[in-house]
């Protein structure tokens, strides 16, 4: 049943000589000696990163090269350490993606504040921000550790899109049946 008292037998005469513990300890050590090493020679060997890893947050483009972020600022709002700063900007009316209306003018993530919690990715309604594989960042100054928009897109690259929501919206508007 539930509660089991842990018994402690007194040490035998042999055990009181320290020898059995030392010998069995040595046996364990030598057994381990023959096993392959569990460690990695880090900078040369890199650990495998599983899918869904929460690394450095990045911004991504859709397969047509359009920036996905519409600067709704939800990630800026949710970020617990307030690492994200977004300055929204208008998309000019004559641009090919004018139907999206807004894009970030500036998008800064302060990597000295970021805690890699992944809430920004979780709340993003456009699947524009992703925590990807990169896990090590370095810089000589504080300013270097702030990722600006260009750097974020460079880190993020392009990810597949399931919906092409804004393209559909544009097509619908051209057919004159927008909601």
């Amino acid at each position: 049943m539930a509660i089991i008292p842990l018994e402690r037998k007194p040490l035998s005469l042999a055990e009181r000589t320290y020898l059995p513990a030392i010998l069995s300890g040595l046996k364990t050590t030598f057994k381990r000696l023959l096993k392959p090493a569990e460690t990695l020679e880090y900078p040369e060997q890199r650990p495998a990163i599983p899918p869904g890893y929460r690394g450095v947050p990045t911004l991504v483009r859709d397969p047509n090269g359009r920036e996905k972020c519409v600067s709704c600022q939800l990630c800026e709002f949710v970020c617990p350490p307030k690492a994200i700063r977004i300055t929204p900007g208008e998309i000019p009316a004559d641009a090919p993606t004018a139907q999206v209306e807004k894009a970030p003018k500036a998008f800064d993530i302060d990597m000295l504040r970021c805690i890699y919690c992944g809430l920004c990715q979780e709340v993003c309604p456009e699947e524009a921000i992703f925590l990807q594989n990169q896990y090590s960042m370095s810089g000589y100054t504080r300013a270097e550790m702030v990722n600006h928009k260009d750097r974020l897109y460079e880190l993020g690259g392009t990810l597949p899109d399931q919906h092409f929501k804004w393209d559909k919206k544009k097509a619908a508007a051209e057919h004159g049946n927008a909601h």
Binding site: I3, L6, R8, R16, P20, L119, E122
Partner: protein, 408 residues
């Protein structure tokens, strides 16, 4: 006849005065390797005997409780990682259940099982570190290396599940961050199978080792009465012979479905606390294996709680209704009724309690954290007095505390 006459010798007099013992005050920590973080002990020593011990805490104070009042319930989840950072998954679970009790929300069986498995894995991780560090404190380095090898395997599994090795932030109010990946439970099962013989191997290095026993048997004895009086919980209380385990006494997250034993010590010394941790790991493996054997299917978040758990991403991208809901839950927070709730969970270090007071809405009005390490350390002034200074190190190692949680 000459009378005997001796000159007074001032040097000799000074020498005897020098040998008159005087109490020495010694500041141990906050950056001492065996104070496991930033605990500082203000010791008063008579030779090598401790005559007074004053723990000084607060070096890691971040004001988590106040921070919680200024953010939504889900935003606080990453902060719970940083309480007992050796077992973040267990903290995530305790916090989520506390808030769910406030909302009177039941999460589906699959969510409960995932949380339970991760909490038990966190217990393994925490006890492995506890044993390893205790080994170092008492002069056995190898144990630490072996336990860390096993912890690395656990971290790999955490990383796969949550995306992070250390700061997992896995629970959400009403669910989880995401479902378990394909084949993950099988890998946990495989880990458990290979872990048991290694655990025996690690414990065999210490259990009957006279060097280790000389350092721990009879050192830092906490009596049953003291354990109750000082509010000590977890393995430290069970080491003193108290059969207190909330997983048995007030089951949560489906612990009542699984068979496991609660090990208790007989004398309450450091060695007993070590034995309890060792046996608890065997029991944790037992629980994990049972939970995986009957791992339930179905949804992994509370589907009916539409104002609490954010809708699935697919819907957010395609449907206006869900998009609005997503914005509402993120900006306003998960909607809670007014009221207050206290929930405590059996964490690896002891009883972790969350007292949440809500005035409605998505932000707690007050959130109090009852942290086990804080309460367990309260006995130090009594426990250390009369022991040798080298025993203080063994006592600290056996209490297995985390300052992130104590200072919070």
């Amino acid at each position: 006849m000459a009378t005997e006459f001796s000159f007074p010798d001032p040097a000799a007099k000074a020498a005897t005065a020098e040998f008159e013992t005087e109490k020495m005050s010694l500041s141990m920590g906050p950056s001492h390797p065996s104070t496991h973080g930033v605990l500082r002990l203000q010791l008063e020593l008579d030779g090598e005997i401790v005559t007074k011990c004053d723990p000084v805490i607060g070096y890691l104070h971040r004001g988590d409780e106040k921070i919680a009042e200024n953010m939504t319930y889900n935003q606080f989840v990453p902060y719970t990682d940083r309480l007992d950072y050796i077992a973040p998954l267990a903290n995530n679970m305790a916090y989520a259940i506390a808030v769910e009790r406030l909302a009177k929300l039941e999460v589906p069986a699959r969510c409960q099982a995932i949380r339970l498995i991760t909490a038990e894995m966190a217990r393994l991780s925490s006890h492995l570190l506890g044993l390893g560090a205790f080994g170092i404190d008492t002069g056995a380095w190898t144990v630490f290396m072996y336990t860390f090898t096993e912890r690395e395997k656990l971290y790999k599994l955490f990383e796969e599940l949550t995306g992070a090795r250390f700061t997992t932030s896995y629970s959400r109010i009403g669910g989880l961050q995401r479902d378990v990946p394909e084949g993950w439970t099988g890998r946990v099962d495989a880990f458990c199978d290979q872990f048991l013989p290694i655990l025996e191997e690690i414990l065999a290095l210490l259990t009957r080792n006279k060097i280790f026993m000389d350092r721990t048997v009879g050192v830092g004895v906490i009596t049953k009465e003291d354990a109750i009086a000082y509010g000590i919980t977890g393995p430290n209380a069970r080491g003193s012979g108290l059969g207190l385990d909330l997983r048995k006494d007030k089951p949560y997250s489906g612990y009542e479905q699984y068979e496991f034993d609660v090990p208790v010590g007989t004398t309450g010394d450091s060695y007993d606390r070590y034995l309890v941790r060792g046996e608890e790991m065997r029991q944790s493996v037992r629980i994990i294996k049972q939970a995986i054997a009957k791992f339930p299917g179905g949804p992994w978040f509370a589907t009916e709680a539409r104002k609490i758990f954010a809708p699935p991403k697919d819907k957010v991208l395609t449907s206006m209704e869900e998009l609005i809901q997503n914005f509402m839950i993120v900006t306003e927070g998960p909607q809670m009724p007014a009221g207050e709730v206290y929930f405590e969970a059996e964490n690896p270090k002891g009883v972790l309690g969350f007292y949440v007071v809500s005035k409605g809405g998505g932000v707690p009005w007050r959130l109090k954290i009852r942290s086990p390490s804080f309460c367990n350390l309260s006995i130090l002034p009594k426990l250390c007095v009369g022991s040798l200074i080298s025993d203080v190190v063994a006592i600290l190692g056996s209490l297995d505390f985390v300052m992130g949680e104590c200072d919070r």
